[in-house]
């Protein structure tokens, strides 16, 4: 009975507990200089990487590893254009890249760079058929192989799917991580907000040129306002004495606040053709002069979805497995959020070893 009372009645705070809370508050205040020191010292990007290719603002990074290479087929990680790609290698113990390196894969990452005002005219064709195609060529040239594995995350997954459909001969295996391909399910908040009736993307791009980072960041924050603007800071207060928590927290905050603008024409086309007209899954999307037919994707496909993904619900990713021409296709639905899939402790413990196994079974050994 007391337990029930305790659950529903917050007013039963004894003087001793009040005293504990007050002392806890004072301890945390006293810790502020140390917290600031940790915030200053926090580093993102766990693994050293060297650029092997540069073009305009794009860089292809190769991750260094002490582990002997086990597989001939390299892995190229393709992240979205809205944030920086180091989320997949945020910190030791929270690095998807490290999982693959420790299994003996040769891992590369596409860093799209930060578009400037002059890049507003870059479109889907530039990103898929120029930058991504050249990044793939660079990795193939560097490794002397004819095919590579691609891991595409979020919008980077969508772009990877488009690329694979256009150049199936170059992709040995495709992993889609929380990547949307079908926007017919318009139930999530982002789809509601990008509805043509309320969001005139043409006018936004006409006025701003590139899609401003601050708008993107505000939109992502407002998708979960209570969690992002209030709950997070309560959690921070309660864990202020845990150094490991603080390091993870500040690393994550660094990434979350490191939004970049998206090239205007690319953003316009992506929102209009994908979010608003849902052309990709219907086989109507064109990149330059070529139509993107997902049936051309014939390599093994692994689709990873997150149960609590508020950005890309499972319903936007899973149809990919039905749309492709592959016979070897698998989907894993994991209990995590959109970002938790990459940096969550449980995902790093349980999901990524399985993904490495899947890829290892399908990659050419040395």
């Amino acid at each position: 009975m007391n337990a029930t009372n305790a659950t529903i009645n917050p007013w039963l705070i004894s003087p001793a507990e009040m005293n504990d809370m007050w002392q806890g508050f004072l301890r945390r205040v006293a810790m502020m200089p140390r917290v600031a020191g940790i915030a200053e010292k926090v580093r993102v990007g766990a693994t050293p990487a060297e650029p092997i290719y540069r073009e305009d603002k794009l860089r292809v990074l190769r991750y260094e590893s002490d582990v002997e290479k086990q597989f001939r087929t390299p892995l190229l990680v393709v992240f979205a254009l809205v944030n920086r790609p180091y989320i997949l290698d945020l910190r030791p113990g929270k690095s998807v890249v490290r999982h693959f390196l420790s299994r003996g894969f040769d891992v590369y990452n596409v860093d799209w760079g930060v578009p400037a005002d002059g890049d507003r005219h870059l479109d889907l064709h530039d990103y898929i058929e120029k930058y991504l195609a050249h990044a793939v060529d660079a990795v193939l040239d560097y490794t002397g192989t004819e095919q590579l594995n691609i891991l595409g995350y979020c919008m980077g997954g969508t772009m990877s799917a488009m690329y694979t459909a256009l150049h199936p001969e170059q992709v040995k295996n495709l992993i889609m991580l929380a990547a949307p391909v079908d926007w017919s399910d318009r139930d999530n908040l982002l789809s509601v907000w990008t509805n043509e009736k309320y969001f005139d993307v043409d006018r936004v791009i006409e006025v701003f040129g590139n899609m401003p980072a601050v708008w993107l960041q505000a939109s992502f924050l407002m998708l979960k306002p209570v969690s992002n603007l209030i709950e997070k800071y309560f959690s921070f207060y309660e864990n202020m004495e845990d150094e490991k928590f603080l390091e993870d927290f500040f690393a994550m905050e660094t990434w979350l606040n490191d939004n970049i603008p998206v090239a205007g024409e690319m953003f316009r086309q992506f929102v209009k053709y994908c979010f608003q007209r849902n052309q990709l899954i219907q086989g109507e999307l064109r990149v330059g002069r070529r139509r993107v037919d997902l049936k051309n994707v014939t390599c093994p496909v692994l689709t990873l979805t997150a149960t609590n993904d508020h950005l890309v619900p499972c319903g936007q990713s899973l149809p990919f497995n039905e749309a492709v021409g592959s016979t070897d296709r698998k989907a894993i639905n994991f209990a995590a959020g959109h970002i938790g899939m990459a940096v969550g402790s449980r995902a790093n413990r349980e999901l990524w070893p399985k993904v490495c196994d899947w890829l290892a079974e399908r990659s050419e050994k040395i």
Binding site: N2, A3, N5, A6, T7, I8, N9, P10, W11, L12, I13, S14, E17, D20, M21, D117, G118, R120, H121, E129, K130, A133, D137, L189, V192, W193, N195, K197, Y198, F199, D200, R203, V204, V207, F208, G209, M222, K224, P225, V226, S227, I230, E231, F234, G288
Partner: protein
Amino acid sequence: MARLGGAAPKSSGTPEAVKQMRQMFFDAWAQYAEQFMRSEQFLTAMKQAMDNALAFRQQMDQFLTQGVRNMQMPARSDADHIVLLLRSLEDRVMQRLDQLDARVSAMENGAGKRDQAPTKKRGR
């Protein structure tokens, strides 16, 4: 109310209870916020706010463009025109290179010659 006067638990369960209450409050608040941000009223207001912000920004841009033009200086729109011009030039050069590439390949095939290394498409 009767419960308020009851015996307080001696363990440190009460802060946990506060946390639970707080969580319930946040969950309810989050649910309300989500419903509100889906409502027609919010979406209409969002669109209006966006339209106003864009109109203001456009007016500012026009004003600044006029100002720099009056001073015989190039504005952002002029730089945009140059970028567009360069892009169309690049496109045309790439197309021409692709055509030349195709013609050279056809000639080589016709002569029975084959390159050892596969040629890459330049412009894609």
